[in-house]
């Protein structure tokens, strides 16, 4: 084995993609659009998610372009409001929330637990159609003029003071919400009821624990934002008064209902990414995840505590000081399980055999950037400092560090890690490593200056700013350009690899996990016979024994 990489590919002269796999089993567009195979649905999601990501990214580019100069010179202020709103709506609801669960979760949860499919395959397909319906509605909204309230639809602005497309955007989010609910429901049932013999809870990969926790959030929190959107719609159309102070209503009630979902939503977004990181760090340090039980329970703890802290998004909105106190204290609690995970991953690295394949580069990026993002979250959760930092670029930097530096890096780590399994092909390693580094550099240049801008007082959601802030904004825009290159490259080389990439074989990373003991790409039914789990998770000794017993572990 090459000491700088653990990649172990089959002999390329004789290796072939297995003739029968989930891609070749059936042909034709309808066989994809009407499939019940979780793997095909995952690929459908991957393609549509990438599409929406680039639309959201283009909107981000427009934002950064406008902010190159202090004046509002690229677009009218109202247009700028629409651009950042749609950027938020698309990135959150149509990219981040479904990203890992709908692609990697859908593809690998059944395989990791030894099942043939999810518990409810047709509901899974319905989830994708709901997602597409919501997404197309969002695009339609953009085409007819967009909405400018910010993705948070804060009342009474969204109910009484704008005449933009609040209703259609709300409907798009409502529909996408049900997609998310059904996915979460499917995962919970699957994980409880369809584990293979011997697959006890504590032998599950941590990827599964993470998705389980995120699914609880999806099922319990999403309906509340659904009803909040219904109420906004009724307020706008019928004027029922539920959020209207002139009729005795309270605009803050909407915010309570909205953030009751939207705070857990950030954990819906990050937990699956954390699941990916557990898998990647373990594989590329050749070591069992340190403190498996702690990581598993901390996933569930994040999910549970995440329900108790939502009003920290409302500290300056007019809630009572006593509520501020309670929610601020609880917010300190929720940071603990996340920190536990970071410590455990770090201890996993300690005395491991670390190699720096592309997924691992993204994972390291995650560790650093998510930590910074998370710590700045503590500054914001502390109500005294939040009063100064909220609604400034500090918040923008905070959530981009956790969501882009954290979640998006984890997503890319996962895509690269499981690409050989999903497609049977390897991507070009040097190019992908370079793209990962470019992303990391670009990210820091884009978002670190925003922390400083926020502390200096630059407000968020403003198209213009005082001239003394320009230099930091120019850095940020420059970084965004680099970031764009970093995100474009994977699209190009991953698509390239589908045709020209090296044949990957069953287990190019020599990873543990049931999905790696099958062919690449997998069969439609995943396993030829039901697997029996007789070893612990991340059991590298077991893997060594398998190799010795079965000889070469990569099939051609």
């Amino acid at each position: 084995m090459n000491e700088h990489t653990i990649v172990n590919l089959p002999d390329q002269a004789t290796a072939r993609i297995p003739k029968d796999n989930y891609i070749t089993r059936e042909n034709g567009l309808l066989s994809w659009l009407l499939t019940s195979d979780h793997k095909r649905i995952a690929i459908l999601y991957l393609i549509s998610l990438s599409f929406f990501f680039f639309i959201g990214g283009a909107l981000a580019g427009l934002i950064r372009l406008e902010l190159l100069t202090p004046q509002t010179d690229l677009m009218a202020t109202d247009t700028y409001n629409k651009v950042f709103t749609m950027h938020g709506v698309i990135m959150i609801f149509f990219f981040l929330v479904p990203s890992v669960p709908a692609t990697l979760g859908n593809f690998f949860i059944p395989m990791m637990i030894g099942a043939k499919d999810l518990a409810l395959p047709r509901i899974n397909l319905l989830s994708w159609y709901l997602y597409m319906a919501g997404g197309l509605l969002a695009l339609y909204t953009m085409a007819v003029g967009g909405v400018d309230t910010g993705w948070t639809f804060t009342t009474p602005l969204s109910t009484h003071y704008v005449n933009t497309n609040v209703l259609t955007t709300g409907l798009a989010v409502f529909v996408a919400g049900f997609s998310s609910i059904l996915t979460g429901l499917n995962f919970i049932v699957t994980i409880h009821k369809m584990r293979a013999p011997g697959m006890t809870w504590f032998r599950l990969p941590l990827f599964i624990w993470a998705h389980y926790a995120a699914s609880i959030l999806m099922v319990l929190a999403t309906p509340v934002v659904a009803i909040a959107i219904v109420l906004i719609a009724l307020e706008r159309t019928l004027g029922i008064g539920v959020f209207d102070p002139t009729k005795g209503g309270d605009p803050l009630l909407f915010q309570h209902l909205f953030w009751f979902y939207s705070h857990p939503a950030v954990y819906i977004m990050i937990l699956p990414g954390m699941g990916v990181i557990s898998e990647v760090i373990s594989t590329f340090s050749r070591k069992r995840v340190f403190g498996y039980t702690a990581v598993a329970f901390s996933s569930v703890a994040i999910a549970v505590f995440g329900f108790f802290v939502w009003a920290h998004h409302m500290f300056i909105m007019g809630i009572s000081n006593y509520a501020v106190l309670v929610f601020s204290l609880l917010t300190m609690l929720v940071a603990v399980p996340s920190a536990i995970k970071i410590f455990n991953w770090t201890f996993t690295l300690y005395k491991g055999s670390i190699t720096f394949e592309t997924p691992m580069i993204y994972a390291f990026g995650f560790l650093g950037l998510f930590t910074i993002g998370g710590m700045t979250g503590v500054f914001l959760g502390s109500s005294g400092t939040d009063i100064h930092l909220t609604e400034t670029y500090f918040i923008v930097a905070h959530f981009h560090f956790v969501m882009v530096g954290g979640m998006l890096m984890a997503f890319l780590a996962g895509i690269h890690f499981w690409w050989p399994k999903m497609t049977g092909r390897m991507y070009p390693e040097k190019l992908s490593q370079m793209a990962a580094v470019i992303t990391f550099v670009g990210f820091n240049l884009t978002f670190f200056p925003q922390f400083i801008l926020g502390m200096l007082g630059m407000p968020r959601r403003y198209a213009s700013y005082p001239p003394e802030f320009q230099i930091l904004n120019v850095f940020s825009t420059a970084g965004a350009t680099i970031l764009g290159v970093g995100y474009l490259l994977p699209v190009l080389y991953l698509v390239w690899s589908l045709r020209y990439g090296a044949i990957a074989g069953d287990n190019p990373w020599q990873a543990t996990g049931l999905e790696w003991q099958t062919q690449s790409p997998p069969l439609t039914e995943n396993f030829t016979e039901m697997p029996v789990m007789d070893h612990e998770a991340y059991d590298y000794e077991w893997l060594e024994k398998q190799k010795k017993e079965k000889g070469v572990d990569s099939a051609g």
Partner: protein, 102 residues
């Protein structure tokens, strides 16, 4: 592995259902009667208590949860818990607004 759906084993008979039916109708009569008596602060408490008792009977016997697995009971509990968190923690804001800015 996890618990099984009891429906494949326990079949709840009409006798149980009839008892619950009468209990529910009785509860309904009781709650209407109680609403006509002035009990001050206790009126809503009693109304909700009776409603909750009726709901519990429906859940346990019409929905077979009395005979169901621990998983089913845990699932229901977590739903009720989150429902209560939503209501009570939102209300902490509304209740304390009038307390003044210390």
């Amino acid at each position: 592995m996890s618990g099984h759906n009891e429906d494949t084993r326990h079949i709840v008979g009409p006798g149980v259902y009839l008892v619950i039916l009468f209990a529910l109708l009785l509860g309904t009569a009781l709650t209407v009667w109680a609403s006509y008596i002035d009990l001050g602060l206790w009126n809503p408490v009693i109304a909700l208590a009776i409603a909750t008792t009726k709901a519990v009977l429906v859940v346990l016997f019409f929905m077979h949860v009395w005979y169901s697995s621990k998983l089913t009971k845990l699932t229901i509990f977590s739903g009720i818990f989150m429902f209560l968190v939503l209501i009570s923690m939102t209300l902490t804001d509304y209740i304390s607004r009038a307390w003044g800015s210390w």
